[in-house]
Symmetry: C2
């Protein structure tokens, strides 16, 4: 007997048939004697439909507090429907909203961080042998106002519950059947992995391999929650994500592509100390996630700083920099959204010096120009023209894995 | 400066245009310096759509707890959208769900009663000069589970807030512009009243004049909350409902029709003492609202008891009686749904003995047979064949009012 946390995304519960498919998976594990806590997202297009309603009322953007109030209704609908399906299958069940399940967050509406989970209610319901269905993606702040956790928030909700309840396993059901060495829809030779370490998964997640949200993997690593990424439609084992994994043949664990990237260049900066600190400190305050950074010498004793940010944060980033205009002397800012980041990930990369050059060679052979390079202990990322992204993934994947 | 509570139904906020219409009414009163608390129902068909989703999952009927979880999402969407519209109009606003607004109820899911309102949050927000938008129809029980208040629950929510916050006025916006002496769509001579007493309104509400829900009027009477029933589409005064009203010309305040009535007859009851107690005590336990009761002598030393209940409670009523079979001796139960109740309401009726006979005469002249009669201090109701209901209302209305 174990405590299993299962998370199902919106497409897994998009209609009544799929709701029952999910309910059956839950009931199956429950009937084996396990305690089961389920985290579920809003059904299919519900969130998008609600966003459309908000845009109709206030196209310039409603307050984030009211957006969170609005969007959290989506999971409320899905938890109730899933609970009804489980009732229909004859098992005891209770649905709980974020606040009922004890999710306490900060007040950063739309992107709240979980501060703690008060597990009292969850414990009470599992003690009573109820299956518990928890609304993902949401919590409350200290004012008792509803907050949402932002993109991939339901994964984070599931891992947070697994950590707080010391669950034996946290299963993340998706539309793929595990973690692949590259996107299997794009790269025919992509291989499914049985196991992957938190760090490797983290790099893949951070880099646009959208199987798992990186916040949820970070949290799983921190609290040592064993994850399984598996298919909500098929019945077969997925990929286990944990601290120590058994050695596998390939050094490189995956090739990922991220097209949600914008390159921002600040041109003609005065060449004085502290410039980089000033810029990136301001960007951090504005909650912009800066990724690759490049500094180069410009004309006339100036320098240029170029960096990448997620495309949906580029507006914020530019505003933040423009606010520095009084204390920061520069000639121009330019942006380019038509870029893509291609990354390879694998533990122990730093002790294999040939890896980077092999990647660059593969791209050169495919005729793809590299704009920026970034490396860490377990990954190498390059920025290229967006139109070559898929070609680049295939070329790099085939050089290392196929 | 006053504290005004306003309640808007689902059709008043059915689309973006109507949401702004409502937002403008709210902002107008707020800009005059008033504190404004608004109660709003789910948009248009939202509740019906959610019920359809539940039926698709479990046609035999999901648990009431999960239904309440599901349905309360409807108001969550409408409060957020209305708040966004008010933000767009430039006024400070906070939306609150039932539990955030302090609605504590019993655990009778689907038909919960408000036990108390903890006004702390409402007070805090009005003190900060925020317009407050409260989700109607919902609260939480002692387990922190969401409950809904049943039919007309948003009216009750509004009156409860007005009572708890000692509001100066509680305005109930509807699709009619006030309380009429009869349904103006059916009776061309119907007259709009400027004022009506709680008791008179209560009788009209209980009797199918669906302008106001009777629970909300009862509560308004108990806490002496002055109500105004007015149109959400037009700008003109409605009908004030309060304790003492100024004398008006007509003794009879209104004629109402209720077709949501089923007549149940228990035939061939053993003629022993305590029979009526046994039956109606059991029905009360089953939460069935019994209205007109008639007891008559049957064949062979037995008696028949006939009574009316709301049609949607007839199944419960019959089950409750069948459960008595062991201790209650009867021959048969018959039901008739094709009946309607026609009522006239007016204070001081008991001191005008001619009223009842005038009503009966009007029905007789129109060729309508009376099946049952019930009278109280301020109303006279008759049960007739449903197909004559509209004719009966016209005939009675014209006899008294036109």
């Amino acid at each position: 007997m174990a405590l299993i946390v299962k998370k199902f995304g919106g497409s897994s519960v998009a209609n009544a048939e799929r709701v029952f498919n999910v309910a059956n998976k839950i009931v199956e594990d429950y009937k084996k004697g396990n305690d089961v806590i389920v985290v579920v997202s809003a059904q299919g297009d519900t969130t998008d439909d609600l966003i459309d309603k908000a845009k109709e009322i206030n196209p310039d953007g409603a307050s984030k507090r009211e957006m969170d109030m609005l969007l959290s209704a989506g999971e409320q609908i899905s938890v109730a429907l899933l609970a009804m399906a489980i009732e229909k299958l004859g098992c005891p069940v209770k649905s709980l909203l974020g606040w009922q399940a004890g999710f306490e967050t900060d007040s950063h509406y739309g992107m709240a961080r979980i501060k703690r989970i008060n597990t009292e209610r969850l414990q009470k319901e599992t003690d009573k042998k109820n299956i518990v269905i928890v609304a993902g993606f949401q919590g409350i702040n200290k004012y008792d106002d509803i907050t949402t956790l932002g993109r991939g928030g339901s994964d984070t909700s599931a891992v947070a519950i697994a950590a707080a309840m010391r669950a034996d396993l946290c299963q993340i059901y998706t539309d793929v059947d595990g973690v692949y060495t590259a996107d299997p829809r794009k790269v025919p030779n992509a291989v499914k992995m049985d196991e992957i370490s938190y760090d490797e998964m983290l790099e893949l997640a951070a880099m646009g391999a959208q199987v798992l949200n990186n916040r949820s993997v970070e949290m799983a690593k921190k609290y040592n929650v064993e994850l399984e990424v598996l298919s909500s439609l098929e019945v077969k084992p997925g990929t286990i994500v944990k601290e120590k994994v058994k050695m596998e043949r390939t050094l490189i664990k995956g090739v990922a592509k991220d097209t949600n990237v914008t390159r921002i260049s600040i041109i003609g900066l005065e060449d004085t100390p502290g410039i980089a600190f000033k810029i990136f400190n301001r960007l951090a305050q504005a909650k912009v996630n800066v990724d690759i950074i490049l500094q180069s010498v410009g004309r006339d004793n100036t320098k240029d700083i170029t960096f990448t940010v997620p495309s949906d944060q580029s507006k914020q980033a530019i505003e933040a920099i423009k606010e520095l205009k009084d204390t920061l002397d520069y000639k121009d800012i330019s942006t380019d959204e038509s870029v893509a980041k291609i990354s390879i990930v694998g533990a122990g990369m730093e002790s294999h010096p040939g890896v980077a050059s092999k990647m660059f060679e593969a791209l050169y052979s495919a005729g793809i120009n590299i704009q920026m390079i970034s490396t860490s202990e377990i990954k190498i990322s390059v920025l290229i023209d967006e139109k070559y992204a898929d070609n680049a993934v295939s070329a790099v994947h085939d050089a290392f894995i196929a």
